[in-house]
Amino acid sequence: MNRILLIEDDTETAEVIVAELADRGFEVQWTADGVDGLGRARTSSHDAMIVDRMLPGMDGLTVIEALRKDQVRTPVLVLSALGAVDDRVRGLRMGGDDYLTKPFALVELVARIEALLRRPSDSRQTVLQVGPLQLDLIERTARRGERELDLLPREFRLLEYMMRRSDQLLTRAMLLEEVWNYKFVPATTNLIDVHMGRLRHKVDGPGEVPLIHNVRGSGFVLRSRR
């Protein structure tokens, strides 16, 4: 069971997060205070941390900085209620691993925590395999079973990202950030859906078992098994 440390001073937000994570099978420790949170992070080991940017006692970024100095490498998701423009840069620079701006959707939070916990498969691998899908990173070729997939470079990138994180929920924001390096919500909201539609059209041929699934209202999953 994964242990998560949540440092968040707003009780209601914290309660909802704790309940949601507990439902998903996480064991959550919660504290509202930065200093206390730093102490707990130092003394007991956690698999991931969620740290609010603005905390009483000690600023969230300071907590992360102190932990990184102590060689505590626990992955951290930073939460911020600010307009969060420069903050994102600073948050990541201080040693945060991911950054989420309030208000956020719970699925987004859970998806990002799961992404932090399950670091992508070894990046030195040159051939990725998920179910019948096979991606050759050197030859830049993709195949599903015997069928060669003719992918555009961006589709190849997208598929590579999804195969490294198979069976994980990937939200649109995550895909934009990681695949396109684009940090903000575009005015055209179905931008990613269109890209995914193209890729799915090529990956899931007629009569084949669909591998790319749309999770309603949240994102996409590449399933390795039925």
Binding site: G83, N181, Y182, P186, T188, N190, V194
Partner: protein, 474 residues
């Protein structure tokens, strides 16, 4: 009350000070003239009596008495004094009663008091006198009344005083008048400002035709008020727009929840209602977030992410991102980037700016049209152009589209937050670049960027480049 104010007014005080300084100057001048005159007259008297005493002393003793009598007889004004005393101090001749004690014989001319035979009625005159010991042991004293110096001085003084008084009064009057005039104008300005403070934004300060500092100041302030009125109106409009844009999704949420609460019979139906509510709230939040971002960028605080940014890469990436959706709308999307161009800026924000422009272009270009991204560079200026075959932005709308929440009437029903172009404008401004909206028909928006690290504003020269260029198409 009014009078006290008048006296306290700085203009009046200044006038008073000037008048006092003037009076002081006149008094000093008078003193100087008096001192000079006095010295001159005394010196003249001294010379005269020195000559006279030498003349009489040089005469043989027998003729001295007559000479003294003649000398005194010739003096009709009674300002000459003379006396001859023997060694014992007894008077031999002249109109001086006895030898003055302070007088040093054979000394220089000096001011002494003389006891005269005929005592003067008014006062003891101040006299310049000189004494001389003669060979026979006699002492000769010659003197001269210098009271006339005082008389002349008093005449000059009177004349000066007569001139000084009116001048002083004039100064005070002028001061009072200027002060009164200034106060009247200040009072008028004050009343108008009070009205402006009370909310009457169209009120302006009085601008007389004259080119005095007051009128100039009024013109400057009025210019500032014009600017502020415009901004306040825009802000007021913004408040309305925000309220309106937020109310629309929130109303939908409310209705959905209200109906769902009473009518949802199954879990699926309830979830459906909840999804709708979440979508509506997300839309409201998107507006708030966009506004916060806009404010933050406009407040110029975001410089942490600045670095070297390759514009050609950004254009290609944006193109890559929007290609499928353009294809779905049967719009040809292409990027022409012939050169590698680096600018100093925030990659994410520049990406967002270009993406917003492309997003808009695709949104407003009819099916079958074309959207083109183009990067040109010349010397120290880069030009990013997003052009399309859509309706474009008319001259009248050019300013308005940069305003928050502005949505062209034609596109009232197009989804979108309506902050896209203001966001682009804010990002462009943060970088010190320029945003240019080209003439309709055909959408055409350009970002004029300076190449290299220095975030200097784009130069005038490049502006001409741009207009010459724009003229060719428009």
């Amino acid at each position: 009350m009014h009078q006290i104010q008048l006296i306290r007014s700085s203009t009046f005080l200044w006038a008073l000070a000037v008048a006092a300084a003037f009076a002081l100057f006149v008094v000093a001048l008078f003193a100087f003239i008096y001192w000079k005159l006095d010295a001159y007259l005394v010196a003249r008297s001294d010379r005269m009596i020195t000559t006279q005493i030498r003349f009489i002393a040089d005469l043989p003793p027998s003729r001295r008495l007559n000479a003294i009598a003649d000398h005194l007889a010739q003096d009709s004004r009674g300002v000459q004094y003379a006396g001859l005393f023997d060694a014992g101090g007894n008077r031999l001749a002249g109109n001086i009663d006895h030898l003055p004690r302070q007088l040093e014989p054979d000394g220089a001319v000096q001011g002494v008091q003389l006891d005269l035979l005929q005592k003067p009625t008014s006062h003891v005159p101040v006299v310049r006198a000189v004494g001389r010991r003669l060979d026979g042991g006699d002492v000769l004293v010659m003197g001269r009344n210098v009271d006339e110096t005082r008389e002349i001085a008093s005449v000059v003084g009177e004349a000066l005083a007569l001139g000084l008084l009116p001048a002083f009064s004039l100064c005070l009057l002028a001061g009072a008048w200027l002060s009164f005039r200034a106060q009247r104008r200040v009072e008028e300005v004050n009343q108008r400002v009070q009205r402006i403070v009370a909310g009457e934004l169209r009120e302006r300060l009085p601008e007389s035709g004259a080119d005095d500092p007051f009128a100039r100041l009024a013109r400057i302030v009025n210019g500032m008020l014009d600017e502020m009125e415009m901004m306040i109106n825009a802000l007021a409009g913004l408040g309305n727009d925000i309220a309106h844009d937020l109310r629309t999704p929130l109303t939908r949420v409310r209705l959905a929840l209200e109906r769902g609460r009473t009518h949802a019979a199954t879990l699926e139906q309830l979830q459906d209602v909840t999804d709708k509510a979440i979508a509506g709230i997300d839309q409201s939040l998107a507006i708030v977030t966009a506004l916060l971002r806009l404010t933050e960028i406009e407040n110029n605080r975001r410089m942490a992410g600045f670095g070297d940014v390759a514009l050609d890469e950004i254009l290609r990436e944006v193109c890559d991102l929007y290609e499928p959706i353009a294809e779905d709308k049967r719009i040809r999307l292409g990027a022409v980037t012939e050169r590698h161009v680096q600018v100093w800026g925030d990659r994410d924000l520049l990406f967002e700016a270009v993406a917003n422009l492309v997003d808009n272009a695709i949104k407003f270009t009819p099916s079958g049209g074309r959207v083109e991204l183009r990067l040109d560079a010349e010397d120290d200026t880069a030009l990013v152009r997003v052009s399309d075959t859509g309706p474009g932005i008319s001259e009248q709308e050019r300013e308005a589209v940069l305003r928050r929440f502005y949505r062209s009437d034609k596109m009232r029903n197009t989804p979108g937050v309506g902050l896209g172009l203001s966001l682009v404008a804010a990002i462009v401004k943060l970088h010190g670049f320029r945003l240019v909206i080209g003439p309709a028909p055909g959408g055409r928006i350009e970002i004029l960027a300076s190449i290299g690290r220095a975030s200097r504003p784009v130069t005038r020269r490049s502006r001409t480049l741009l207009h010459a260029d724009a003229g060719g198409v428009g």
